[in-house]
Each structure stands twice: as C-alpha cells, then as structure tokens.
C-alpha cells in the first residue's frame, strides 16, 4: 500500500530558517532583553562572564554585544537553556566561593534576599500584595514545627487584579522568615464527547517559569497520572523557584501566605470543543511544599477544577484539597523535574 508524492524540488518549508518558523513550541525558551538586563545588574555579572557564557552557546562577539546592550532577546532550545543554567550556576558557585569565604551564592531574586549553596536565606522583609475582601473557608489547620499551616479556599481578594476563588497556604510561626512555599503544578484538559468517551488533550503549556506537558490519562471522574514531563515548578522567576518570588503573597514578621487561582486555560478548552467535545474539564493540580531553611517539612495537595458544560459556559472553579501532612523530601518524580529546572537548589531533596 504505497503512499507517494510527486517529486519535490524545493527544500521543506519548515526547515528553512528564513521563513520565520522555529522548533516545536515546547522546545524554545525565550530570555527577554529585560531579563538579560536584570541579570547583568547582578553583582556577579561581568563582561568576561557574559563573553564566556555567550561563547558556550555558540554566539558571535557581535551577538553577545547585542544581548549585553539590550538590543536583542535570546531564544534557546531546551537543551541550550539547561546547559546555560548549569553554566550560570557553576559560574556563581565559583565566584561565590572566591567572594564569600566558602559560601556559594545562588540566584534568588524574589523572597529570600540571599541564598547560599546549602540553604535558603531568611526573608526579613514584609510584603502585602493581596487584600482579602472575604477570608474564604478554612479547610485544614495543622501544627508544623514551631508554627501552624492553614489551608483556605474560595478567598476573594484584590492584588492589582482581583479573584473570587483564590486558595491560600499560610505558615504562621516565629520562624516564618526561614519558611518558603515551593509549589509544583500539572494540568489536564479532558474533552468528553457525545458518546461519553474521554479525550485528554496533549501538548505543552508555556509559563513564566518554564514549559511542561499536559497530563494524559484522565477522564471525567478520574485524574491522569503525571510523570516528570508533566510537572512544572510554579514560579514567575527563572532563577528563584519559590512561589513568593513573583506570584502574589503576603509576608508579615511572623507569617508567610501564598495565594493562587489558576486560569481555566480557556484557549485549550475551546480547542477541545472544536475537536468534538460536548463537555470539557480543565484541572490544575498542585503539590505544594513548605521548605524550612534547606529541607521539606510539609506537603499539601489541592486540585482546582473548571467544568465547562458548553463552549460558552463560564464555570466557577471548584477547589478540592487532597493529602496534607508532614513530609521530609520531594517525591522522586517531582524532585527530578525540580532539580533539572533549578540545579542550584539541589540541596532541597
């Protein structure tokens, strides 16, 4: 049974670098000129370091100069990106050793002011991004270390924007400065067709902290099972893995609270309807860990689900809390993804 094509004289269009097409969406990472400028403001930055890192990527001196001058973004494949992260980490560690009596400094821009090679530095500043207008429902409270973890759902709040179904994880204790939230997300978009069959969508999600694959295997009533490729460290920073680094949170002298309400991923939901679904379920799953100084002390799971019964529906999300309790380490699958994304934080096991 042959599949044949008339002879082609021209090169394949999607291999031509001049045609504006790049690698599959999941394979490219963009470092914007703003991020480059921010990185170059670091006390660790220097012209020689920029040249060394640029050369390791195969860039010409002119291209490096364009990046340093803020005239160009940098687009990398995932492999190049991981290599760059590794090189930066090594560079920081070697310079930190020289400069700080053996301590190695890791990039940590958001919550901790300084992070050394084996621990996360305490956060002594306060922050109040979210104003709660409704405190929501407390679904769990538990003593952890010398403080207390509280889980709440359906909080209404303003933070520049506003949201009506925020969930919040809080730690309150005298040692709160040493505690940080580390959250991992995986997502499912499941189309349910007229015959009742479930069709999980596959493909990648782009976030401010990296890309990850949608989790397959779910149905209307059961969750898919994530692998390493399906998890993502939920951070707005490419150098600081903690949720507080760029997502909404409040920190006082004796507490740290993170707030979240995932989007419904509406464009993906619409694509599922276009593929024949009569109902689409969009689920975001969270595994969130409380990190004290350098180790995991607590884990809480929460799922937020949007159930679209039609393409024009605008469903409210429903939060369901899963397991919660003391923990001593990240699960192997999550740890593998985390350490690949943030090798400088490999001390968090």
């Amino acid at each position: 049974m042959p599949a044949q094509q008339e002879p082609q004289q021209e090169a394949p269009v999607d291999k031509n670098p001049e045609d504006g097409l790049a690698a599959p969406a999941a394979d490219l990472v963009t470092i914007s000129r703003g991020q480059i400028a921010e990185a170059l403001r670091s006390p660790m930055a220097s012209a020689s370091a920029a040249n060394a890192l640029g050369a390791s990527l195969g860039l010409t001196p002119l291209q490096i100069a364009a990046l340093v001058a803020g005239r160009s973004d940098l687009k990398l494949t995932q492999t190049q990106y991981e290599n760059l992260r590794r090189s930066v980490t090594e560079l920081y560690q070697s310079r930190g050793t020289e400069a700080q009596d053996g301590g190695s400094t890791c990039g940590s821009s958001g919550s901790p002011t300084t992070t050394t090679g084996s621990k996360v530095a305490p956060v002594t500043t306060t922050n109040s991004t979210v104003t709660e207008t409704t405190a929501g429902t407390t679904t769990h409270t538990e003593a952890v270390g010398s403080g207390t973890v509280t889980v709440r759902t359906d909080i209404k709040g303003t933070f520049g924007g506003s949201a009506d179904h925020l969930f919040a994880f809080s730690y309150k204790g005298t040692d709160s400065a040493d505690n940080h939230w580390l959250q991992f997300i995986h997502r499912e978009i499941v189309g349910i067709h007229a015959d009742g069959s479930a069709h999980p969508q596959v493909g990648s999600i782009t976030t401010s902290g990296g890309s990850y694959q949608l989790t397959p295997g779910g149905t209307a009533t059961t969750n898919g099972v994530p692998g390493q490729a399906n998890y993502n460290t939920d951070t707005a920073s490419s150098t600081d893995p903690f949720y507080e680094a760029g997502f909404i949170n409040n920190r006082t002298a004796d507490s740290t609270t993170m707030y979240d309400q995932p989007s419904a991923a509406v464009s993906r939901v619409q694509a599922a309807f276009a593929a024949g679904a009569t109902r689409v379920i969009s689920r975001a799953h969270f595994d969130t860990y409380l990190i004290t100084v350098d180790h995991v002390v607590y884990h809480v799971q929460l799922t937020m689900e949007y159930d679209f019964t039609s393409a024009t529906a605008n469903p409210a999300p429903v939060s369901t809390m899963g397991a919660a309790g003391a923990a001593t380490a990240l699960p192997a699958t999550i740890a593998a993804k985390f350490h690949a994304q943030f090798p400088a934080f490999a001390f968090i096991k």
Binding site: M1, P2, A3, Q4, Q5, E6, P7, Q8, A11, P12, V13, D14, K15, D19, G20, L21, A22, A25, D27, L28, T30, S32, K75, F159, G160, G161, A163, G191, H193, D195, H199, P200, Q201, V202, G203, I205, T206, T207, S208, P216, G217, A236, G246, F247, I248, Y259, D260, Q261, P262, S263, S267, R268, Q270, A271, A272, F273, A274, A275, G276, A311
Partner: protein
C-alpha cells in the same frame, strides 16, 4: 509514478476511532490489520502539511495514496500586533478539516492534540506548504501566569483577514477558511 514517501504516519480508522497506527517504510509502503477498518488516513507533516483519508473497500484491497504537486499550495501569513507590543513569538496552530472527524485527525496514543500542527513563530510573517482544502487556524502568545505580580502580555486573535478581504467568524476560538490556491492571510492579534 512519483517519489515514495518514507515515515508518513498512517492511521487505520473507523469513522470516529483510530484502530491502529503505523508509518510508511522506505518504499512508501505500509501494512496493517484490516479488520474493521473503514478509512486509511495519511498524516503529512513534511515537506508539506495535510491529512488525506481514503475509504477502505469491503474486500480490503490495497489502498494507494498519491499526492500531486498541484495539490500543495503555499499559505503565507502576517501577524499584526497592538502598537505597544513588540513581536516576540506566537504559537501558530493549523488543523485540516477533512471527511474524518478531528478525533481522528488529532489522534495521539495518549489523547488528542490541540491542533494538527503547532509551531512557535519567531518572526511576524510565516510561510508553510499545505494541501488544498479547509483549514482551521489558531494563534496566540499565552504565558500561563495569572497570579504573577507583573503579569505577562498575552495575545489572542482579534481577526483573521483573507486576501480578498473576507474575515471568517471565529468558531471555538479558531478560524476556518478554504485554501484553494496560494493565499496570504493577515492575523490581527490583541491583548487578552
């Protein structure tokens, strides 16, 4: 007789379900169990995009799929952004609409693709060769970070305009249009 195509993905399907998948060998041939098969669907991703379905006779006779060069045309497009948004990247998503449903066209072993073909475009223009027929186009620049203190600029399609000035209506967020010959479309993006 044309050039045999190696590595073309071939799906053996009913009208709504994929029964088995295989790829063509160096001679452009494939073999698959025929029981219950109503259609053979070839999915082409290079050097052109397209999907071709052939009905399978009751006698399970060999199925031959040939693509004439005249069936391959160039789709060109230009992205227009809001004036205060510099072009960074846009995800372009194309799906052919053929006689078998999307559940076949978009099939993967573990689910359905969002679109038949997805590429991150890093210039405001693109060209791609496609088979003539009806296509759905989706495009956007979406960074999932709704709770970021500094939210990223996300973009979606405001309007798609064909060469003749026609502007197809959106359907489930996508835009379907007929490609009969070489065509250039303008994709106007807006902040979302």
């Amino acid at each position: 007789m044309g050039v045999p195509m190696r590595g073309v993905q071939v799906l053996c399907t009913t009208r709504s379900k994929v029964l088995t998948a295989t790829v063509t060998d160096a001679d452009g041939r494939f073999q698959a169990p025929a029981e219950g098969v109503e259609f053979v669907v070839a999915r082409f991703t290079e050097p052109f995009l397209g999907c071709v379905a052939r009905a399978v006779g009751a006698a399970a006779e060999p199925v031959s799929i040939s693509i004439d060069r005249a069936e391959i045309v160039k789709l060109s497009a230009h992205f227009e952004l809001p004036s205060d948004v510099p072009f960074d990247w846009v995800d372009l998503k194309l799906t052919p609409r053929i006689e078998v449903p999307p559940v076949v066209v978009l099939w993967e072993p573990n689910g359905l693709r969002e679109a038949f073909w997805v590429r991150r475009v890093i210039q405001p223009t693109f060209e791609v060769r496609v088979l003539r027929g009806t296509w759905e186009l989706r495009a956007g620049r979406e960074i999932d970070a709704p709770m970021a203190v500094v939210r990223p600029v996300n973009l979606g399609v405001a309007q798609l305009t064909l060469e003749d000035g026609a502007a197809p209506a959106a359907r489930f967020g996508g835009y379907e249009f007929e490609i009969a010959d070489e065509v250039t479309v303008t994709v106007a993006l807006q902040k979302i």
